[in-house]
């Protein structure tokens, strides 16, 4: 059993920031476990979602921002939909991931690389370019054999374009990203 010393590690500012950014009242969670019961990802989580909520109440910033679970939540909305206290748990998971990202943590490097490749593709083309983002993911991670077995299945179907379907004015979308970075959101 993990014993947490609350006098030494309880970060009240962290709790307040998560509550503000997610718009959720963290103290409402009474640990019924409904979120974990319905979560399809518990089998790959290092901390099940009800424990994430409990650790959050205890202000355990470092444990949470370095855990794998926050990167593996797919936002399937099962927890949010079933929470008896109407906590948007998926929003809390998203918020923790935002914070981890801002602090340079990337416990699931593959997942982060996929997200980055996807958004780079959108910033450049205005739309997600499937072939391009796969190549970018492979370059970032060095996983050269990613889905190579799928190529003979999908290429003859003519569904995977070798060129991006750009919007007419990609600069308009690039500007959204640029302004976002300029605002330096914290």
């Amino acid at each position: 059993m993990n014993v947490i010393s609350l006098t030494a590690s309880r970060d009240l500012d962290f709790i307040a920031r998560v509550e503000k950014e997610s718009g959720q009242k963290v103290s409402l969670c009474y640990q019924c476990g409904n979120c974990t019961a319905g979560c399809p990802y518990t089998f790959v989580y290092d901390i099940p979602v009800h424990q994430v909520m409990r650790l959050l109440q205890a202000g355990q910033k470092q444990t949470l921002l370095s855990c794998r679970s926050i990167w593996l939540c797919a936002t399937c909305q099962s927890c949010t939909t079933r929470c008896p206290n109407n906590i948007d748990v998926a929003h809390v998971m998203d918020t923790l991931r935002h914070m981890a990202r801002r602090e340079g943590q990337d416990t699931e490097y593959g997942v982060k690389s996929f997200v980055d490749s996807f958004l780079e593709s959108v910033e450049k083309n205005g739309r997600a370019f499937e072939m391009g983002l796969l190549v970018s993911f492979i370059m970032k991670t060095g996983r050269f054999w990613t889905d190579v077995d799928l190529a003979p299945k999908i290429l003859p179907k003519g569904k995977l374009s070798p060129l991006p379907h750009k919007v007419k004015n990609p600069a308009a979308i690039a500007k959204i990203f640029e302004r976002f970075r300029q605002e330096g959101h914290k």
Partner: protein, 300 residues
């Protein structure tokens, strides 16, 4: 609101690529049902899951740009999209932008502010609510009698209910009803809203193999000949990755995974070019060829 069934259509990025057949069959089915689709001019990516995992203002701005472009179209009653991921992004942005403080932050990122004047619906919802199941039945050209289907909605088409506001969030029935209306037979499928593994196929294939594997197992266990979906990502995980799933889980599924618009289109007499049945990785040919024989047996 217009009385015409005229919509601002948001195809979504995958409609240009891996779910081409969903886009073409959607357009053909809508036309057959008297729904007029006007593509949102120069629509861009909604941000999908990657954007909201980075920041909600960025995500809402990427979705919001498309809401703002759709608002410029005349005489449309709603924005509709076939893809649940696009749907959830567009709807979540629209709901969050109702808060003036959040709207101001999002609008600062955009060239043109979002006014939030149009409802956002899935194509499935528009067919059910605006056309109606009863109006589909008389248009059937070929009944899909004897086709047993596991209707799979995916995780976010109906959840969370406060945002998605359509059908039941634990046991949705819209696709079941449409498939029944064209003569097919939906089987019990208790994993209707379970997640397929989402976009982790590339980064963490093990997750998709486990979660989509469960879906295929359950569909087979309940006697389905095929699965029917409304989501490009669910379809891709179940169809394109079916061999990966089979080798990881030591199973031997050979389960066609249709888009509901392909089956609806087949029943409405729409041609192969629009339906794109040959674009599915698990070929449905043998199954569809056997349908007529089944229908005859049932009639006899």
């Amino acid at each position: 609101m217009s009385t015409r069934l005229r919509y601002a259509y948001y195809p979504g990025c995958s409609g240009l690529g891996t779910s081409k057949e969903y886009d073409t069959s959607t357009r053909a089915v809508c036309q057959a049902l008297g729904m007029e689709l006007v593509d949102i001019p120069d629509w861009s990516c909604c941000g999908s899951s990657p954007a909201h995992t980075v920041d909600h203002r960025l995500s809402s701005a990427l979705a919001g740009r498309n809401l703002a472009l759709a608002e410029m179209l005349e005489d449309v009653r709603a924005i509709i999209t076939p893809c649940p991921s696009c749907l959830t992004n567009l709807k979540t942005a629209a709901v969050r932008i109702r808060k003036p403080e959040f709207a101001a932050e999002v609008n600062r990122l955009l060239d043109k502010p979002v006014r939030n004047t149009l409802p956002v619906k899935s194509v499935l919802q528009a067919i059910i609510e605006d056309v109606g199941v009863d109006a589909v039945r008389p248009k059937v050209f070929k009944w899909l009698t004897g086709l047993k289907l596991a209707p799979y909605y995916g995780c976010i088409m109906n959840r969370p209910p406060e945002i998605m506001e359509f059908d039941d969030h634990e046991n949705p029935v819209a696709m079941d009803q449409l498939m029944e209306a064209v003569g097919a037979e939906p089987v019990a499928f208790p994993l209707k809203v379970e997640c397929c593994g989402a976009s982790y196929g590339v980064a963490r294939r093990d997750i998709v193999q486990t979660l989509s594997g469960k879906l295929l197992d359950m569909a087979a266990l309940n006697g389905a000949d095929a699965m029917v979906t409304a989501c490009p990502l669910c379809q891709m995980n179940l169809d394109l990755r079916q061999d990966q799933i089979n080798s990881a889980n030591k199973t031997s599924h050979n389960m066609p995974v249709f888009y509901f618009t392909q089956l609806l289109g087949l029943a409405l007499g729409i041609g192969e070019k629009d339906l794109g049945l040959s674009k599915l990785c698990v070929s449905p040919k043998a199954l569809l060829d056997s349908l007529e024989a089944r229908a005859e047996r049932k009639a006899g």
